[in-house]
Symmetry: C2
Amino acid sequence: MNFELNKSIKILERTPAVFRALFQDLDCEWATINEGPKTWSAYDIIGHLIHGERTDWIPRAKIILGDNEDKTFKPFDRFAQETLSKGKSTNELLEEFTRLRQESLQQLKAWKLTDEDLNKKGVHPELGAVTLAQLLSTWTIHDLAHINQLSRVMVKHYANDVGPWKNYIRLLKDL
Amino acid sequence: MNFELNKSIKILERTPAVFRALFQDLDCEWATINEGPKTWSAYDIIGHLIHGERTDWIPRAKIILGDNEDKTFKPFDRFAQETLSKGKSTNELLEEFTRLRQESLQQLKAWKLTDEDLNKKGVHPELGAVTLAQLLSTWTIHDLAHINQLSRVMVKHYANDVGPWKNYIRLLKDL
């Protein structure tokens, strides 16, 4: 096992800056390109991360740590951003994500979680029993998995521009 | 074709900030984990990008744009960082990369490249004839492909910590 709370916090608190470094004040289409119909752009991903701050990670941790006997999480809506992001600019979403993530981390740190807390369990509506450590591990690499996704989308945007170098770039070889 | 010079510059000038956001002043192992023997960590990747600034992108563009009749590029050493990064901290490499990339972009902008320039050709030692536009496209997505790589490495670091969520994370499903 590699999970450590402090190691996770280091990533979680850096993710908004990574997204701002890539997309803030950008006047071209890198934030809105995707991999085709029903695939996600960076803009979609930021909206998805915002919804996660509001309804997924900290709310589920609260259920695990709280006194309520029913430990079942509410299902997470993976498509909420389709309506919730409407009319918002990428900069507005980046600001919202930055603020919400700061609030989430304030809460996470304020709990001063013990090993006993990290072993407490909740019930995922599809996956069944999960520990708080597993929830926090997933939160951490969920950020990184979406950075992985958006970088893949951006690489593919130039698939037909690199000429013979296509053979050297793993993500383009099979296109 | 999606390549535009200004669109590429937007990415190239942001990459050092993305790396700093992720790895500067980090007191845990996210920058040095890899996927096993002979695979690269973020630390290795930053060294590789530094060597690219020194010997690959701008030097090759100079060959394409220059007066010398022999347009053949020198082969790029993909493993130079194994010796060149020795003894340097991640912060030192980040600083070096940031400075070298700024210098590269100063040169790139100073050329005020025309469409005619972008169609000029050099000779890659393995791939044969390539245009300046293809070189600059490759430089751009080479950054992004390495962000893709390091985020993959970091996701896998928690492969055994996420419990049943493993099934929801594409990069972990097949591990």
